[in-house]
Amino acid sequence: MKRCHHLCQLLSEQSPEATSLVFFAQGNKIHWSYKDLLKNIEDFPLPKARCVGVFASTTVEAIVSIFALAGKRRIVLLDPDSELSTLVAQIQKTHIGALLGDDELAAELHEYLDADTKCSDVDILFFTSGTTSKAKAVMLSEESLCAAAYNGGSLLPLRPEDTLLSVLPYSHVFGFVCALLWPLSFGCAVCLGRGTRSIFFDFGEYHPTVASLVPQMAGFLAAKKLFNPELRLILIGAGTCDSAVLNLIRSQGIQVSFGYGLTETSSGVALSLGVDPYAMSVCPDYQIEIAADGEIILHGGPTFMKGYYNDSESTANVLRDGALYTGDLGRVENGLLYITGRKKEILVFNDGTKLFLPEFEGDLRKILGQDADFAVLQGKDGSIILYIHKPTGIEEQIEKFNLAYPRSHRVAKIIYAPSPLPRTKTGKVQRYLITTD
């Protein structure tokens, strides 16, 4: 199975009447068979534009668009819940010529489209950390995404009778691979979440047996006891997860598997399968090397990205001689991979999002002044701490600053440092010397 279309064709031949997607339309619950899914993909009218942006929420329209366009157009997956300014930057950066999936939003953004884009590639682009001009688009192929689903599935197989609740946007590679391609590759039914407001009720409505969630969602839903009794497995990924959350879920009789992967690797690299959620088995096809400084280097992955879109310098920093430098720190013990931290200047949040620190600190410097002496740190609960020596009395400025950022990316706490921040000879803040307890 190298392509989404092939996957649907295969399943449509093997089990034409088996349920592929379950979703709500105008208040009615609809079941599509694999035959229905294939027919809708094949009947989909392709737009003339060579580069198409798809608002990739968990809708049947988004899935059909993506599967129909894959291999025929360049696709850019967009999160419709992003700030308009972010969407504009992403449209302009990737020269999108047409938008699908949300007519109202598409009309609002129409003036930013580039109808004359002449691209010949058929890559699928996912945006990763960075919100504006520095946002990076990762170029993946349909084949690498399908390979990632197979790779993960070989370690953590599903049963054809499983139903998976899909609530993560497909603009996030974890959502696309682990909440869509992974269950489809086993012929399972995928229940489409009804959006942010309904996530608290989707488990009770669909009665899934499996769900793929980011840590924050998993922890919140477990604490509120919103999981249905049929749920047997939760795959958690796209961020670090506290052991208390994992224990809480397990105490409800649900198996938890924890996944490690990057957008640059089309998602899953390693998965925990045993009792220890942090001891991860490496997916087939990968060899792991731990560099002298502890960085995890991946070799041999058929799921590696082609590169960052129009950013050869950043690509060369990450992809070197066929190896992918992850920027994550880890160790290998008894053949199992343990993640121990991050080397890159990127904060990863438990809602699956990332923040590129130099860009964020640059924005802060614009309001705090060029002489400001500060560092942005991440607290144990994942929240952002602004550790600052000067200037002081900045609460109101930060409050206004926060409004420009999504909730998880806001400064939650300001700590005034009694003395100047420790720095290297080149002026770089030595974060590891700062304690905030």
Partner: protein
């Protein structure tokens, strides 16, 4: 429904659902941001509770702009007036 009644209902929902606000006097200028354990998921949950209480739907794009309890009251008033 008066503004005071709306505020009282919202304050009750906040007090029940937001950790750290159980014993805090809640007024219109009380900050509801991501301190005191109000992460994005918790905030969404509270907003859903508020929407259900008043039978309204507040545009999601405005959620992140809400800073204080008064901001939420303003949004509810605006939707109720429609």
């Amino acid at each position: 429904m008066t503004r005071e009644e709306i505020t009282a209902k919202i304050a009750e929902i906040v007090r029940i659902n937001l950790p750290g606000y159980e014993d805090v006097p809640l007024e219109e200028n009380t900050r509801i941001n991501n301190e005191a354990g109000v992460d994005s998921m918790t905030f969404v949950y509270v907003m859903c509770k508020i929407e259900a209480q008043f039978g309204i739907s507040i545009p999601k794009r405005t959620w992140d702009k809400m800073l204080t309890l008064g901001d939420v009251v303003n949004a509810v008033e605006k939707e109720l007036a429609k």
